[in-house]
Amino acid sequence: MTDANTELLQVDNLGKRFGGFVALENISLAVTAGERLGLIGPNGSGKSTLVNCICGTLRNEEGSVHFDGRKLDGLRAHQRTHLGLARSFQLPRPFVSLSLIDNIRIPRLYTVAARGHSHAASDVEERCAALLREVGLETKARQRPRDLTQVEMRKLELARAMASEPKLLMADEAMAGLTPSEVEDILALLVRLNEQGVTIILIEHIMRAVMSFSRRLVVLVSGRKIADGAPNEVMRDPEVERAYLGQ
């Protein structure tokens, strides 16, 4: 694990264009190991695009991304996952033909094992079961994702991201559409994960969740970063207010 107070993720002047549309412009962002960062912004402001650029799902035309002291540009998504970057998708994308436990098994087999850790079959089995237990899905381990509710699907999505034992987890709207108590469940899970040393970037619309979770808040509007700082200060920022509430 990286020492505290060193930069785990460093994004410099990142830019992404879709044809003539500028999705991200000149984004710079530094995330320290162990941080709990909230990333907010109105719909279409480029939050998910930023996650996609960091994770390698999309290629950024401008700027660069460093992670854990390594330059990520040009690396494919799975290579970034190997380095310790994990993300959950905004709309859950489970492996529909695999059982829940096998869904969790994939990152263990392909990421944790690839890092050279031992992966005795029983060990993998045990770890996968533990992860499912952590998100409360242990009783459905042998079922298929199609049998799950929306909430369970999001939990599975998180568990799968956690299964790769990441240094940095980006949770892309993991709580959209959940009831307040379910939001609490997921938040508690993320806090627990953070206490185990995982840096977390939370992308979220539910302000209550973001404010209670984040130690720092970054605001994106129309592909540009307009604020970065302590949550309460950021929320008082007139520009942020304007973006959220209008003039």
Partner: protein, 338 residues
């Protein structure tokens, strides 16, 4: 079941099949059986890419023909040399396998960034391009075709067709064992994630492009190996019939009818459809073959989109893990065909 045990069982079954065929005492059984076995290999090979990874390959004939024409090229080569005139079939299979494996890898590298129907169209194009090349390559007979003279008898085994049958039987055992090995390995899990969701697979650390290249290479190699003995079987090899669409259609239809997510699917589908085709060829006419395939395919897409294995799996739902159909059977592959 461990792989060695599975292999032993397969070999015992193969020995029983061979003994039964010898017992019938009619060499036509070997001629008909050879074709069925050839399709066991082709459909199993197709299924490694099409069923496990969800990439529908319409170019089976291309890989099959590569194997066959490798044999013709070698036949022509040694015909003018001082070497002994008969090259053992396993050697020809290896050579044919290597050639089409390399082409499989190359095709994969060029086309695997395409998805769905676009990939399928590219594989179809490969067959057309290769056929054009062969038609214009005089050395292997060009459009006239090439004669390959089969030795009459072999010591121990007897008639040469028995030898061909036996070789294809062993290749079928090898193909099925490989398919099963993949299915239960890390590679098999990786293939399944590619079929389900490539973005999520990448995010989970699965190197999707590398895995797809492995699949196209294994699949291509096995198809080429199945094609290598074909000139000796048919005696006269001609581009038209070697690149026939039948190979592509059959090797897609057989896994779809049997079920695409386990090794048993292509086997069951081939035994059913392939045998039926042979019977119809003898009793009615060879032209009815494709009609039969079409009708069965329509029937299965409607009634049992997950194939026979899927049907049995649903029936045995009580103990799903013990049966071969570990995963949901590839409705995706069926979907992109219908």
């Amino acid at each position: 079941m461990r792989t060695p045990a599975f292999l032993v069982i397969c070999l015992i079954v193969a020995a029983a099949v061979f003994a039964t065929a010898v017992g019938v005492g009619n060499d036509y059984v070997f001629f008909a059986g050879y074709v069925v076995l050839q399709y066991v290999v082709l459909s199993t090979a197709w299924n490694i890419l099409g069923g496990y990874c969800g990439y529908v390959n319409f170019g089976t004939a291309a890989f099959f023909a590569l194997g066959a024409y490798s044999t013709v090229a070698i036949y022509k080569l040694i015909a003018v040399s001082e070497l002994p005139h008969v090259v053992p079939i396993p050697v020809l299979m290896l050579i044919g396998g290597v050639v089409s494996g390399i082409v499989g890898f190359g095709m994969g590298y060029l086309t695997l960034r395409l998805r769905g129907a676009f990939f399928s169209i590219a594989t179809l194009a490969l067959a057309v391009v290769l056929e054009t090349l062969v038609v214009n390559w005089d050395y292997v007979g060009g459009s006239r075709g090439a004669y390959v003279i089969r030795p009459e008898e072999l010591p121990l085994i007897g008639n040469y067709i028995r030898y061909l049958f036996l070789m294809m039987l062993l290749l079928a055992v090898a193909a099925i064992t490989i398919a099963r090995l993949i299915e239960h390995s890390r590679l098999g899990y990786g293939f399944a994630t590619i079929r389900d969701d490539e973005l999520a697979a990448e995010a989970s650390g699965v190197p999707t492009l590398r895995l797809k290249l492995i699949a196209t290479t294994i699949s291509g190699t096995l198809m080429g190996m199945a094609g290598a003995p074909f000139p000796y079987y048919i005696g006269f090899l001609q581009p038209d019939s070697t690149f026939a669409l039948d190979y592509a259609v059959n090797s897609i239809a057989m896994p779809l009818i049997g079920g695409t997510t386990s090794w048993a699917g292509p086997l069951i589908g081939t035994l059913l459809l392939g045998t039926l085709q042979q019977i119809i060829t003898v009793t009615i006419s060879s032209a009815v073959n494709l009609l039969l395939v079409g009708c069965l395919l329509v029937l299965f897409v409607i009634v049992a989109p997950n194939g026979i294995v899927g049907l049995v799996h649903t029936y045995l739902q009580r103990k799903p893990e013990d049966f071969v159909g570990r995963r949901r059977v590839g409705a995706d592959a069926a979907g992109s065909l219908s």
